[in-house]
Symmetry: C2
Subunit: 541 residues, 2 copies
């Protein structure tokens, strides 16, 4: 028997419609790539999203077509999120920090029909265009006054003229909520980039989930500044969350240095921000140097990489900002876990509370998780056992666009994250390694990250990597590869001795190699695939 409630699909256009109707004068403030601070409102952004939807129709865009963006966080990128998805097309945000070959691969794989880009990326786009035959028109996200006259880009237009030609009224189609709304490619360390294809439903459920007090904890009186880029997993959902709440949105554009961010935090009375550890490290240093304080900033989310505990402590103790450590990935929309205390933990000693807050956190409703061993059976949640981390839920990816990577789901329907983790009895998860990097020695697992962290604590080590190399008896054994700090010396034996008492004896690497530098991906991750190639055939003494 069916319930008798209204059948209203969860649609992205509904978020901005809500904001325009009930928070019409609430501001969206943007620092523009072409210079200057721009102020608009939800009512105006909604009108412009409708102009954009009309423009897309005029350009022949149909439901399901992919539209690319190479853009910073601005009100225009925000309008693209709504105008494109709202009209049933797919907003394909592209990370401009990738290598040019990856960008070409992604644009061609997605078959983007239009490409909207910020003026910053004009030189890049001019290089890409000849290699991207599916793109019918390149649209510069600015006014006509900034349009270059000598560009060879096919059908180059400016965004403002495109909008100005259209009426600010558009009847949003009553889409199936499971239709694709946006597309974001992850840059793997091993394979070609893979596209996660979000739906309207997954996007709205994720926005509901992250609003809650144990997650982003935001309401209409908050002012949200996403430092995390809109080309990086939809800026962690903040461009959808803010209109849902009616919260003011501050868009930093290309100004992601500490001084620019601090200026915006203060001038726009920002209360909430979100970004990766690197950004917050830079900001902390800037705050300390100038003995500065925040007037309004109180809440931050840190994610995208493991957060050093010292950073959490410094922001809380020195600056009065609660940083919450979160974990997720493109395939989880991205919020999976957030570290906030449970009621029983508030009575624990400070160091135990802090250990929980420094973990990757606990599952939010909408994400279930499990750790399994080589036999695919669940491992105990004892904080000790570590295994492949699996997740599932209504905002978790089931596949990739174009199905480049089948087999990502288990027989039970779980998504294999590619991370290795522990889960403690209170449900707090800790990533210990990537599945591809864990070293399998005699049927037991050794965490490469743990060995790297220990080595990097040595004063003479600038950077360290640990990979598994074949071993006749143990199948694999760890090899430590080290870059020494300039002017510092240290021997292999000294480094191995340094592990004593810090890890189990059988975890200790079998050998140490010194190198001048380690290979990295475009986004700065250690490229262990390259290391494994470099050390292929390595023989343990």
């Amino acid at each position: 028997m069916q319930g008798l409630m209204m059948h209203q699909p969860l649609l992205i256009a509904g978020l901005l419609r809500h904001a325009a109707r009930w928070h019409g004068t609430t501001e969206i403030v943007s620092r523009l790539p072409e210079g200057g601070l721009h102020r608009t409102s939800y009512a105006e952004a909604y009108a412009r999203a409708q102009q954009l939807a009309n423009a897309l129709s005029r350009l022949g865009i149909k439901e399901g077509d992919r539209i690319g963006t190479l853009a910073w966080n601005t009100h225009r990128h925000f309008e693209l999120y709504y105008g494109i998805s709202g009209r049933g097309a797919v907003c394909h945000t592209i990370n401009p920090r990738l290598f040019a070959e990856q960008l070409v691969f992604i644009i061609n794989h997605a078959q983007d029909r239009l490409l909207f880009f910020d003026i910053t990326f004009l030189p890049l786009v001019e290089k890409l265009a000849p290699l991207c035959p599916t793109v019918e028109s390149w649209i510069l996200m600015t006014g006509p006054e900034h349009l270059p006259t000598d560009s060879k880009l096919p059908n180059l237009r400016d965004y403002e003229s495109l909008l100005a030609a259209e009426a600010p009224a558009y009847e949003w189609p009553a889409l199936d909520e499971n239709m694709a709304s946006s597309l974001c490619y992850t840059s793997g360390t091993t394979d070609q980039p893979k596209g996660v294809l979000y739906s309207h439903r997954s996007t709205l459920l994720h926005a509901y989930a992250i609003a809650s007090p144990d997650c982003f904890n935001c309401g209409a009186r908050d002012v949200l500044l996403p430092v995390v880029p809109m080309f990086h997993v939809n800026a962690w959902g903040i461009p959808y969350l803010a209109p849902m709440l009616g919260a003011k949105l501050v868009m930093p554009g290309p100004g992601l240095d500490a001084a620019s961010l601090y200026e915006l935090f203060e001038s726009e009375q920002v209360t909430f921000s979100a970004g990766v550890p690197t950004i917050w490290f830079g900001l902390l240093q800037y705050m300390r140097e100038g003995q500065r304080q925040f007037r309004t900033l109180r809440k931050m989310i840190i994610g995208g990489a493991a957060c050093p505990p010292a950073l959490l402590k410094a922001f809380a103790d020195e600056l009065g900002v609660e940083i919450r450590h979160a974990w997720g990935m493109s395939e989880t929309s991205p919020l999976g876990t957030v570290a906030t205390l449970k009621a029983t933990q508030t009575a624990l000693p400070a160091d135990q509370q802090f250990a929980a807050l420094a973990s990757q956190g606990r599952s939010i409703f909408g994400i279930d998780m499990e750790i399994v061993g080589d036999d695919s059976l669940p491992l105990p949640h004892d904080g000790e056992a570590f295994g492949d981390l699996l997740v599932r839920g209504p905002f978790v990816a089931a596949d990739y666009f174009g199905a480049l990577a089948p087999g990502q789901l288990t027989a039970g329907g779980w998504f294999r994250t590619g991370d290795v983790a522990t889960i403690d009895p209170e449900g707090f998860m800790r990533i210990t390694d990537r599945s591809k990097d864990v070293i399998k020695s005699g049927g037991e697992w050794i965490s490469s990250i743990e060995l790297e962290n220990q080595a990097m604590a040595h004063p003479a080590v600038a950077e360290a990597a640990v990979i598994g190399v074949p071993h006749p008896k143990w199948s694999e054994r760890p090899l430590l590869i080290v870059v020494r700090r300039p002017g510092r010396d240290v021997s292999a034996a000294e480094l191995l001795d340094f592990y004593d008492g810090k890890v189990a004896a059988w975890w200790k690497p079998d050998a140490v190699e010194f190198v001048a530098q380690l290979p990295h991906t475009a986004t700065g991750k250690l490229l262990k695939t390259q290391l494994r190639k470099d050390f292929a055939g390595y023989e343990l003494g």
Copy 2:
């Protein structure tokens, strides 16, 4: 083109599964109708909900069957919410405060196959049973030691023995999320009760929506005590919200007097509660009498009837508790609007802030609303124009069970709330009347509630009602009907003069009648249908 996210239905069993998995030791504390305080946990409640689901199968219950409950807020009622809905049947909560004839109507109309009841209601149930032929078995929500030996109830069982016979493992069916999950009849002032049939989807979306900081603002460190009964619109969603968050749940059972509530608030360290104004009035008086303070209680939701502004102020100023004023109805799951400030309002003078907080509040995402006039066209949101309040959204009713009341939806798909309201420029809604009670004079509307409130401010008036009576020229004009305070006298002319300067001159009632008492419904609402009958044919001088 479809998105590539997991197809996971939003199901009620998933809420308790989440709580059991990630907050297994978090407590559910109940004051039992048979006496004593009972403590259990989400893990245990989940096991028992599975035992219950097995027991229902053994009793031949199929998907879509209705199961009635006549019960207080306890862990057992909580288990019924999950065991019944989780297994695909419909949890039909019945308000024991209704007249016996209404209860019989409701049980027969729903065709309840089983009826679970608390020991408090044994005498009531024994009267109802002979008139409720669809009920195959009556199940007393207690242990075997409390089972009466001389009862004539058909197939009388006790709840604990029913559960004890079953295994605590049950494979929840993968239901369609639009399937019916629970049923709650509203007691109208005019018609027979009408059943609102919630779905799994509407229930989960509502739970997501109310969690947010601008709504109930609760997380895992909160302790939730719903004073609002589980037979009253699912206790406003709190039995679903608490497991979603992993928050401790405190169930007051039948102890809804101020002393019992205060004791539980303190002993269980409750941080959040929700209920109707009458309850909070009683509690305020009790707190003042004993010069008491709350140690942990900080957040309350008040709804179900308009909240006098003085009550909001008293709780904030004297007791340090933020009461949020909310509006909703059975047909909106029930949360529709909540009064919390927007950012721009925080700079307003205190009295203007307070006016917003004392209104019915602003729309939460998931509820859209509109006010329309006699011509069905939208009225301005200027805080002055008032019209029929319409709502729509994914947790708003589209119809009633058994379709007793067709035509509740407009051609545009909006639900007619039956309330008359204004909406101000910031989106804050204020109920001014019920649609059936508003007086239509010469094409303009007069609020009967506004006239009643003004009359009741007169020191000689105990209670007042205003109804429209036919008028040859103006179509309708207001008639004021008054119950004088014992020992106080006041004339019709004095009461009419009392309106001067408080309402528009043309709003002033045309006549006054004095009566000994006014008619009320079982739940205490003024019964204007009866008044209209009593004064049928009334001729204005």
